[in-house]
Amino acid sequence: MLSTSRAGYEQRVIPVSGLLTCDNPKVILCSHTIGMGVVLAACDPVARIAGLFHALLPESQGQPGHAKQKPGMFVDSGFEALEFTLKNGGAVPARLRYYAAGGAQVMGASSQLNIGGRNTDTLKKLLAARGFTLAGAHLGGHTCRSFYLAVETGEASVQLSGQLNEIPLCPPLMTT
């Protein structure tokens, strides 16, 4: 269980529009109340560095100020910033494993209000354009989620709102 506290491990919560990378193996990165927003996380199992951002909106077009100050606010600028920061921290892009969660439709089916669907579409397009695939994902649906990623093992999971059990997105990637 990544959602419960583990002795000797610290949970670092990334808020909406936040972005964080971390190379401390004793850290579990997490983000909560992922509704229409989308979380993209990545980890390099060899360099043992991981990061994630929690985007609110799909595209930063026309919002250069916000994209510069808070790149994690948008899927596109968050994606670039996450890749850049992880590379600077020693990650090798080819080794990065990506996980995604969120993009729920928590309102009616109107296309403009389906920000969750637009966030997911943008994310999938960006991944496809770079030839990346997701190692694990929990996207869409109508439920709010929390996401967890253990830096040490690359283990990722989600927890649905109102549920106690976690859904593993992938098994541990490395031995400790």
């Binding site: 229409m36 909106l57 403009q112 109508h142």
Partner: protein, 282 residues
């Protein structure tokens, strides 16, 4: 006696009324606002007095000379800032505790309400409406949840199943379980507290603004503010399928749904300032 009144009479501890809000709103409606009367309303409440002084002396309103007198602090901040602060502090008292029946941790409902209020206020400013009234309506729109939460705690599993698996909006599940919903309960609570009819109606009809009669526009603000707060990830609790957006609310305000992302960003920016000022727990 209606089902809501019956429920209200059975609630052991009704929350204390934020009585100062309607009084302060009425004072500020006058063209010749009397600063002494504003100060007199606030001065007997230590938390509000401390909040106004702290805000007036914060870096945001920075001045070389600290304001140690409530009158000076009110003058420095301006009546509108004072009103927003008073509304925020009064609202926080009622809205901060955990609402377990809704799967909301301590501070969740407050954050959702404050985000809704800020979003609605930004739109009202753009459209030239009364920002204080709009802020208050959006801030208190979910006040009914604080009196239904205890009852719903025993049916938590039903609510989670109905909202998550069957995708029923929370409002419908409440009605099925209780016979009424949190919006109606909130409206009735404000009426008991002698809040004016416009705020009572806006809260009671924030999910269906078109039913709020002459106060439909105010209810539409509460609706859109609520929607933006959800869009920003605030206040889901266990209500996964949270809300049926009202197209009418957008029409009433003359808003295009395309405007939503822009308002989300501006709300995000303003909330950052508010959280820093009030040290709201995130």
């Amino acid at each position: 006696m209606s089902a809501i009144d019956d429920h209200l009479s059975r609630v052991k501890h009704l929350p204390p009324a934020p009585r100062i809000l309607p009084e302060l709103l009425q004072l500020l409606r006058r063209s010749d606002v009397d600063a002494d009367k504003v100060v007199n309303l606030i001065r007997f409440d230590p938390a509000l007095t401390a909040g106004v002084l702290q805000l007036a002396n914060s870096a945001f309103f920075g001045s070389a000379r600290p304001a140690d007198d409530l009158g000076e602090a009110v003058t420095r901040l301006g009546f509108q800032q004072v009103y927003i602060l008073v509304a925020a502090v009064s609202g926080a008292r009622n809205l901060s505790p955990a609402q377990r029946g809704y799967g909301m941790a301590c501070g969740d409902l407050w954050k959702h309400s404050a985000t809704s209020a800020v979003a609605a206020q930004i739109i009202a400013k753009d459209l030239g409406d009364d920002v204080d009234v709009v802020f208050t309506a959006a801030l208190l729109h979910d006040i009914g949840k604080i009196i239904l939460s205890d009852t719903l705690e025993s049916t938590y599993a039903v609510i989670v199943r109905e909202t998550s698996s069957n995708c029923y909006p929370l409002l419908e599940v409440e009605r099925r379980v209780l016979g009424f919903d949190h919006a109606e309960a909130g409206g009735r609570l404000l009426a008991r507290w002698n809040f004016p009819a416009n705020l009572t109606a806006a809260v009671a009809h924030h999910h269906r603004p078109e039913e709020a009669g002459p106060h439909a526009r105010l209810a539409a603000y509460a609706h859109v503010g609520n929607l933006i707060a959800y869009a920003m990830g605030q206040g889901y609790g266990n209500a996964a399928y949270a809300l049926e957006p009202s197209v009418t609310a957008f029409h009433m305000l003359g808003l295009n749904e395309d405007a939503l992302p822009g308002y989300m960003m501006r709300t995000f920016d303003e909330m950052g300032i508010i959280e820093a000022l009030f040290r709201v727990k995130t």
